[in-house]
């Protein structure tokens, strides 16, 4: 006798909702009954972040979907733009965790109001209307902040700078990178345990520091740092990912910033 035939579809959906998105998708291939149970809103509503409706309501373009599963696929296959196009949001397809890319307009960048230092321009590879291009500064200071409450709880995250370099770059071979919880650690404390990243160098072999990696979207990324986002109950305030190069009389130029990305690892 087939023991499962007796289980109502709602109960099968209930069971599948305690697994993972990958398990649910594989369940759809088991049989017709399982397919119908695995596609139910009961299942996919649990895999979507609890605040997904609020997030989707901030989308620049309307998000159209037929079911919760459809919405999950939509949000994990391509990012949506939120908040007048300054913030990009998507889901990690394997676990439904929240990912954000803060656009350059959403970052705090020193001297970004001075066009001889920084310029906001268009770039065809960008998902945002504008990116920031570094013409020339002595003090390179880029920070991206996000509330820990809008990230997924009980999750290990990493922050990345998403960028490109122009051919005529300079002074990008030794930048300090750090992530801090703004309420818990001062800037000075965070600088003490900062690591070094090499945004660009012509002879990286002689240098010590983390190197960037190529992404599939035409940009480079370098990890700024990692952090653990704990229970949603203990409010950790904002988390800040920052890059700093304050070596004086040392011009920096040729960096194009798409944004700062927070995603689970």
């Amino acid at each position: 006798m087939n023991p499962l035939i007796v289980l109502p579809e709602g109960c099968i959906s209930e069971i599948i909702s305690f697994t993972t998105p990958a398990d649910a998708i594989r369940s759809s291939v088991i049989s017709r009954g399982f397919k119908s149970a695995a596609e139910s809103d009961i299942v996919w509503d649990k895999f979507l972040p609890s605040d997904h409706q609020q997030i989707v309501s901030r989308s620049v373009a309307p998000v159209v979907f037929d079911s919760k599963k459809d919405l999950y696929f939509r949000l994990s296959e391509s990012p949506i733009l939120l908040d007048e196009g300054k913030l990009s949001f998507w889901l990690d397809k394997t676990n439904g965790k929240k990912c954000y890319l803060l656009s350059a307009r959403q970052l705090t960048i020193s001297f970004s109001d001075n066009q001889f230092s920084w310029e906001h321009t268009f770039d065809a590879d960008s998902r945002f209307p504008e990116v920031a291009f570094l013409n020339n500064v002595d003090l390179l200071d880029i920070r991206g902040r996000i509330g820990t409450r809008v990230l997924s709880s009980r999750t290990n995250y990493a922050a990345y700078l998403v960028f490109k370099v122009s051919e005529r770059y300079h002074g990008l071979e030794s930048t300090k990178a750090r992530v801090r919880f703004v309420n818990q650690e001062s800037e000075y404390e965070a600088v003490d345990r900062a690591t070094t990243v090499i945004l660009a160098a012509r002879t990286p072999r002689n240098l010590k520091g983390r190197l960037p990696e190529k992404r599939t979207d035409g940009w480079l990324e370098v990890e700024i740092g990692k952090f653990y986002n704990g229970e949603s109950g203990d409010d950790n305030g904002d988390v800040e990912a920052g890059l700093l190069d304050s070596r004086p009389f040392h011009a920096k130029c040729g960096l194009m910033v798409e944004g700062v990305e927070f995603r689970p690892i």
Binding site: L4, I15, S17, T19, A22, R26, I30, S31
Partner: protein
């Protein structure tokens, strides 16, 4: 005391404090529909005994947290779901019918843990399910999310 009757005509007496963990019975009592014996036409005596065992153990859940008996309760839960598929599904159906939220969650979690990372073939074999999808239908699902069918974590063993 409340009297419950299984579909094989066996009667069980349960303390009201235990039985009202079932939303369905709680509503019946509140509506005054539970004067004599409550018949449960969907539940056999074997399953009902399991459910009553659970209800009695969880009767003082709130107290357990105060007196540090949480570990004891956790151990009970672990032992409780240590049963075969058929028995587990019977308890799930009973919990669903009686609307006992915590029991439903416990059993569904246990079933989910057993299915986690299992290959399609393994689940079909474990639960003795015959595939009634066409090859095209199957392929369509796989093409939509090939990543869910790849990876070293996928477990093809049946146990």
């Amino acid at each position: 005391m409340v009297k419950l009757k299984s579909n094989d005509d066996k009667e069980f007496e349960v303390e009201e404090a235990a039985v009202i963990q079932s939303e369905m019975i709680k509503n019946m009592i509140e509506d005054g529909c539970a004067t004599s014996v409550i018949p449960l036409p969907n539940i056999d005596s074997k399953t009902l005994i399991k459910v009553i065992e659970y209800l009695n153990k969880h009767i003082n859940m709130g107290k357990a947290a105060e007196t540090g008996e949480e570990d004891d309760l956790k151990e009970f839960d672990e032992q409780f779901v240590n049963m075969g598929w058929e028995e587990l599904f019977d308890v799930i159906m009973a919990a669903n019918y009686l609307n006992i939220h915590e029991l439903m969650e416990l059993c569904c979690q246990s079933a989910a843990d057993r299915l986690k990372n299992k290959s399609v073939r393994a689940v079909r074999e474990m639960l003795k399910i015959t595939n009634d999808l066409t090859e095209e239908e199957e392929q369509e699902i796989i093409n939509d999310a090939p990543w869910a069918f790849e990876g070293p974590e996928i477990d093809d063993t049946v146990n």
